[in-house]
């Protein structure tokens, strides 16, 4: 089985390009952590500079760019032998905070739409773990790539926010990812459920023979 933590990263096509370029002589955890710090500072600076929730200004954009770039470099970087496990939670934190903050700045429908998208993305992130745990396989590679991975989703959301079409993109992304994630997951579990019923049935037939 390939590395569990690699699956947990939920890399999309861009991060995979970086991965193929690796390995780079930097620590994955160090660069990912730096990326999270960058986005935190970027979002906070714009929050303080502008009133209320702030605005998506240059500081936010720089921070987000830093997070995406450093996170992707992390895909190609050497592993830290002991605390490598911090990387996937940090990638989750970065993506979720970016989506929530950009939606907060955009307004009312965006706020609850952001909750919807996060719920859909979280479903996928839990699905990765549970499926590896119970079925020993990750969700379909194709579906993961079609839904962008963490980095493409962050880029799409950020571009949409800057272009002022965040609400529409949130709906589209939630619908697209939701349909793909949920249907592909259901399919795999139905296959397994049918298999389990079939095996239980075979078992009961043997029992009847014995009686």
């Amino acid at each position: 089985m390939t590395d569990l933590l690699t699956h947990y990263r939920d890399d999309g096509p861009l991060a995979r390009l970086f991965m193929q370029a690796g390995p780079l002589r930097v620590q994955a955890l160090a660069v990912t952590f730096a990326g999270v710090v960058a986005v935190a500072i970027g979002l906070a600076v714009d929050g303080v500079t502008f009133e209320g929730a702030g605005r998506t200004g240059p500081a936010s954009l720089l921070g987000i760019a830093g997070f995406v770039l450093l996170g992707m470099v992390g895909a190609a970087a050497r592993r830290h032998p002991r605390i490598q496990w911090l990387v996937p939670p940090l990638l989750r934190a970065g993506e979720y905070v970016i989506v929530a903050t950009l939606a907060w700045r955009a307004g009312t429908p965006e706020m609850w739409l952001a909750y919807l998208l996060l719920a859909v993305v979280a479903f996928h992130h839990y699905d990765i773990v549970y499926r590896l745990r119970h079925q020993r396989t990750a969700p379909s590679h194709l579906v993961t790539q079609l839904c962008g991975g963490w980095e493409v989703r962050v880029i799409v959301i950020t571009v949409a926010a800057v272009a002022g079409v965040l609400a529409a993109v949130l709906i589209a992304l939630a619908a697209w990812c939701g349909a793909l994630f949920v249907s592909e997951s259901m399919r795999s579990w139905l296959v397994l459920a049918l298999d389990e019923t079939r095996r239980a049935h075979v078992g009961s037939e043997i029992e009847e023979e014995e009686v």
Binding site: I83, L86, R92, Y96, M111, A114, H134, I206
Partner: protein
Amino acid sequence: MTAHTASLTAICLALAESDAQGPACLLPVGDQTLLTRLVDQFRRHGVSRVVVVTRPQWVESCANAVGDSAQVEGHPDLSGMLAAIADVADGTASDLLIAHADVLTHDGVLAGMLADPRVRSGVLSTSKVMHGLLAPRLRISRGRVVASESAYHSVDSHNGYLLGICKIGRADVGEAAAAARELAGLSAAGLPDRWGDEFAGKVADRGATVLADRAGLAVLADQIESVHPLPDQFPDPIALRADLAADYQLRVALPAEALRDDPLPLLVVGLIRRDVMMTSAYLRELFWDRPLSERGAAEAYHEMVGVDEDRVLLDSAVKATDGFFTTFFVSTYSRYIARWAAHRGLTPNQVTSVSMLLGVLAAFAFATGRTAGMIAGAILLQIAFTADCIDGQLARYTRQFSKLGAWLDSVFDRGKEYVVYAGLAYGGVVTGDGPGIWMLAASALALQTFRHYIDFSYAAQQHQALAASVRGSVKTPDEGEITTWETKVGDAATSTSVLQRIGRSGVRTSVAFERQPWRKWAKRIIVLPIGERFALISLTAAIWGPRSTFTWLLVWGAVAATYTATGRVLRSFA
């Protein structure tokens, strides 16, 4: 009643000799022998083929005992028996069970081991202290057996014992055949270096312990008697000396002979060192023994019959690692509802689905935003959580494990929680909280997913480090460089000794802190597990409303995340 996973093959090893110079497995228990009882138990649990492997001189008596219900093979030595196991494994497309023919235990123990999907390949074990050579030592880490004792292999620091039954999942049967052949080759060519010493040392240790027990008591009796009459309850020194030889025979000599050419523990060592994932199925409070005398068998049978199996099963259906709220406020009564549900024929998946439905209803109730709705939602959520505890307990009690069920349970747990967040946020907007409450809901969801990912990723890395640490050659009696797996994680290339020292002192402090039970519970409460979280949601929503719920979840969740992450970083370096 239990669903079987296709047909199974079982090998019974009839090697131990009783004090009457016959095979111990033919000792009488109830109106059967140990062997026929075990074969019947296997048959009842879906085993379609039983092979009894024994010594050549016992083939006839074993064959007479089992009749057509099993085939009996005689093999003169260890390498022959290992080769026989390899042959059976090669011809098996299903799971393979290997057990000592003289094991006396409950039906429920076998059923549990066969039904538990977490034990694809694994051994029956106990963590209660066992004395003697018939229950080899194990070290178990996170449910995985990482080291096992055999006649010729030792374990550094053990925390469990191998109870003579091993299950090999169909995916690992090929590896088992290879391991058995490798071991057969090693033992046919005369034992490898140091194997003989290891075995002699083990027997001498055990002998010294048993003799010291007896002889020490006799000497003590003499000394007491020289001062004043012996108290009534003290064993008679003459008897102590008289049956010393018989006692040595029963507790040292016979077990040592049984262990000397016992292929089962050797095979377990072989599988572990080939990095086959061997998990542990625990005996818990149930009975297990390998008697070697008629009297011992009768006493053991009597004791086993006296165990209330249903009670033990129901108690062990409750997870030991649950949080404080779940353990003391839910599991105390939910286990009886689980038993009732079992008698009504309800399935765990039905209960799981009802729980999810109740969670959605709770979300709708919260979404009304009215006081009555908040209270109704709080109550519905608590009922949903109770149902959520019942499904797992029902599954363990009735042994209806399924991968689908485990997944459904996990996904619906998350689903319920995040649907309730949405319901609370909607209810907040309805009562004039402003749309910003959706941001609180989103933050709570993000924080909770982040916290779960800390758990998942940490466990994944531990799992992989463990797998890397168990590999090794079966030729070396001791574990060699594999001491504690923590020290093997990575090659310490980047860790400085300072980090390591901080880590170790952190872990020491944490272990010392847990010595008092209330502190252990305090630690479990701090991390805000699901029971505490759902109770917090119900309480705060019913009393103060959604905004307060999210605030509590965020503040407490942030403390929990910091605490967990810090602890695990320290542990990673220790």
